[in-house]
């Protein structure tokens, strides 16, 4: 491992930026023999410029409530952890960060990088990038890890063998949330849905999970964000929740967050809130302190300059980890052998208790869902008592019999 930093390949005119942020495995002193990696495993991290999911969420111009960032640092932590393996495996792992101009540019960029010898990609893009991408990579020797998009249709309708969905699906997240409230016998729920398509998708997943676990939605209300007094029936949480039936918890689906943050303590009844605020189902939370989580949180915070690790960061970290482990446990330089390990029997320690693995039918990573309050992981789903004939993690999300995707057949 001579030069541990090298310039990312400039992949053509489509790229508006190609960072020199290649996080190659660090040099490791190996006094017995100089480590000369004979195998190079290239990983590309692809993100889209202007991805609205990473726009700061503001209360006003001067108050920033959330400043989400691309999960690249999660992937870097994964590569950092592989550094001591360079000598053992005669393999180095390099990570290139590629930014494209639009979702439509993801597919051609991936193909160019694939032609230059990259087999593994971490895709950090919204759902609309996936359909052209799936068509472009169909049948190619590539593995693309979805690290940030929870959209259920990618798992169900698109159903592409070249993808591994490391980020949990909405179905998994909502199943985790519903398992928890049902275990507490909080089964009467008020639903508050926002205007965006994401809110609709989240609400649909919520309703499906409620039905699956036997919770009852006592009222479905669509809110309209704003302060217009003529719309107060639609923008005031107290009026929206002023219904005859009592409810145990209010569920709010609001990807803009502007309305969601006004819901706690403004309902007409003293009831807790879940969904987009207060009790949120997530892939990861910075307060999780079991299963080795404090150590990975600490490595991540150092690597990212103090940022707290979130769900997509976790997914990017796990994606790199799966790639590294596939080389470690197969000791093979052959991509199809590595892919076979990841998609086949491979199970991975992802610091959430039960080992994660890839579901054969839709390539979703089965995993625990953390139910996070702002300063505490309240519970980890699957909740005790929700049983499954083979793996309790399959009580979350689309299980084989009900999946619309059958990559295993």
């Amino acid at each position: 491992m001579g030069a541990s930093k090298r310039w990312a390949h400039v992949l053509g005119p489509l790229l508006c930026l190609a960072w020199p942020l290649t996080a190659a495995a660090q040099d490791v002193p190996a006094p017995t023999q100089p480590a000369v990696p004979q195998q190079h495993v290239k990983i590309a991290f692809v993100q889209v410029d202007g991805d609205p999911r990473y726009a700061p969420i503001r209360a006003s111009d001067r108050i920033i409530l959330k400043a989400p960032e691309h999960p690249f640092a999660g992937a870097q932590v994964g590569v950092d952890e592989a550094a001591p393996l360079v000598r053992l495996l005669n393999t180095d792992f390099t990570l290139d960060r590629i930014m494209v101009k639009s979702p439509a540019d993801v597919a051609p960029t991936v193909l160019q990088a694939a032609d230059a010898g990259t087999h593994f990609f971490l895709i950090d893009a919204q759902a609309d990038a996936y359909r052209p991408l799936a068509a472009a990579v169909h049948g190619r020797d590539l593995l693309l890890f979805n690290v940030s998009e929870p959209d259920d249709t990618l798992r169900r309708d698109l159903c592409a063998a070249e993808f591994v969905h490391v980020h949990p699906s909405r179905a998994q997240l909502m199943d985790g949330l519903l398992q928890y409230v049902v275990s507490r016998k909080w089964t009467n729920l008020l639903e508050l849905q926002g205007p965006s398509p994401d809110d609709a998708a989240m609400t649909a997943a919520f309703e499906h999970s409620a039905q699956k676990f036997g919770a009852h939605i006592v009222a479905q209300r669509k809110f309209k964000p704003g302060t217009d007094p003529r719309d107060r029936e639609l923008n005031d949480p107290a009026l929206l929740s002023a219904i005859n039936r009592d409810f145990d918890v209010a569920f709010v689906a609001d990807s803009d967050f502007d309305f969601a943050r006004t819901v706690p303590y403004h309902l007409v009844r003293p009831r807790p809130v879940m969904g987009s605020i207060d009790l949120e189902p997530v892939a990861w939370h910075w307060t999780w302190d079991h299963n080795g989580a404090p150590q990975v949180n600490s490595r991540f915070e150092k690597r990212s300059g103090g940022r707290r690790m979130e769900g997509a960061d976790w997914a990017a970290w796990v994606a790199v980890k799966m790639i590294v482990q596939s080389v470690l446990h197969t000791r093979s330089a052959d991509f199809s052998t590595q892919r076979g390990f990841i998609l086949g029997g491979g199970s991975f320690d992802a610091d959430k208790g039960l080992a994660v693995s890839v579901r054969a039918w839709d390539h979703q990573v089965r995993q625990a869902v953390l139910l996070a309050a702002p300063y505490e992981v309240v519970a980890s789903a699957p909740i005790e008592g929700f049983l499954h004939q083979t793996n309790e993690l399959d009580t979350l999300g689309d299980d084989q019999p009900e999946s619309a995707c059958h990559l295993d057949r």
Binding site: T32, P84, Q295, D349
Partner: protein
């Protein structure tokens, strides 16, 4: 003054103070480190009562006595030190500086060295016990955990939890000479008394791997499944072996059992029910008693090894990590 409780308490404390130094050697006292209450509780093995509560640096975990049991060394993860407790006076008399977040360590008093795994810096620190300096930091795989020094002091074995590796480190020259890949999340070691085998618990794989120390390859593994438990709860961490090399005890973490293993045949002979997230495990010198720390139960379980039954569980501090016995 019908049994004034304050007076009785004072008398007890006086008695304890009077007898503590005299009993310092071979006292049989049980020392329990508590990660979250930042203390060591000292328990009388006969009465099962807490007789002393010693404040330590933050997050005390692994503990070892020196050879004559005059000092107890305590790795404290959140303050990056190893506290040195004077056993006779129950006072912390020194602090050895380690790397970031020390968890487990091994001592080699012949070479006056402590080998400590620094979980967050992914190194094995070699500390000179007398000069209180870090002589060397050996890079390891991510999250190093278990540390064991070979009988001749020439080799140090370290697990890397994230790397699924066991390293063999040249103690004098201070670098990794060999690696062997084991199951997911390797944690701690036990060695067979004949010096031939190294047993390694792998928490996420739910197994114990057996390594041939000469060839440094995996030669076997042992699976566990206590009755009524799920395979995914089986998360072995702590393990100890009897001096005759016949029996090993393995704590199974979330499966809340200790497995009793016949070492020569590598077969599980039985399971003993303990508390939640059982990790730390220690045998008394006469090997008649086994002590298990239940990390998520805030108690320890005392087991009679002959009958393989739990005798009593004793409430301790928050998140008990390790147990040592002064004998």
């Amino acid at each position: 003054m019908n049994g004034c409780p304050m007076l009785r308490l004072a008398a007890t404390i006086l008695l304890a103070l009077a007898f503590a130094p005299a009993e310092a050697k071979d006292s049989g006292l049980i020392y329990v480190s508590n990660e979250k209450s930042n203390n060591i509780l000292v328990i009388d093995p006969k009465t099962y009562k807490v007789v002393n509560d010693i404040a330590t640096s933050r997050r005390p975990r692994d503990m070892h006595f020196n050879a004559d049991h005059s000092k107890l060394y305590i790795a404290c993860g959140d303050d990056d030190v190893i506290d040195v407790l004077d056993v006779a006076t129950s006072k912390i008399v020194d602090k050895l500086v380690t790397g970031s977040s020390p968890e487990t360590f091994a001592m080699d008093e012949t070479r006056r060295r402590i080998y400590v795994s620094d979980e967050e810096s992914s190194t094995l620190a070699i500390i000179n016990m007398d000069q209180n300096i870090i002589e060397k930091e050996v890079p390891t795989g991510a999250e190093p955990e278990g540390v064991m020094v070979s009988e001749d002091g020439k080799t140090v074995y370290v697990t890397s939890e994230v790397g699924d590796l066991v390293h063999s480190i040249d103690a004098d020259r201070g670098y990794v000479t060999q690696d062997v890949v084991v199951g997911t999340r390797p944690r701690r070691f036990a060695a067979t008394p004949d010096g031939k085998e190294l047993w390694v618990s792998t928490e996420m794989a739910g197994e114990v791997y057996i390594i041939d120390r000469q060839k440094f390859v995996v030669t076997g593994k042992i699976d566990f499944l206590p009755p009524g438990m799920r395979q995914t709860d089986v998360t072995p961490v702590g393990l100890v072996m009897t001096k005759d090399g016949k029996t090993a005890y393995v704590t199974l973490g979330h499966a809340a059992h200790v497995a009793v293993v016949d070492v020569p045949t590598r077969t599980v002979q039985g399971y003993i029910l303990v508390g939640k997230r059982s990790w730390g495990v220690t045998l008394s010198r006469d090997e008649k008693t086994l002590y298990v720390a239940n990390g998520l139960g805030d108690d320890i379980t005392v087991i009679d090894t002959a009958s393989r039954r739990a005798v009593v569980s004793i409430p301790v501090g928050r998140v008990p990590w390790g147990i040592v016995v002064d004998e």
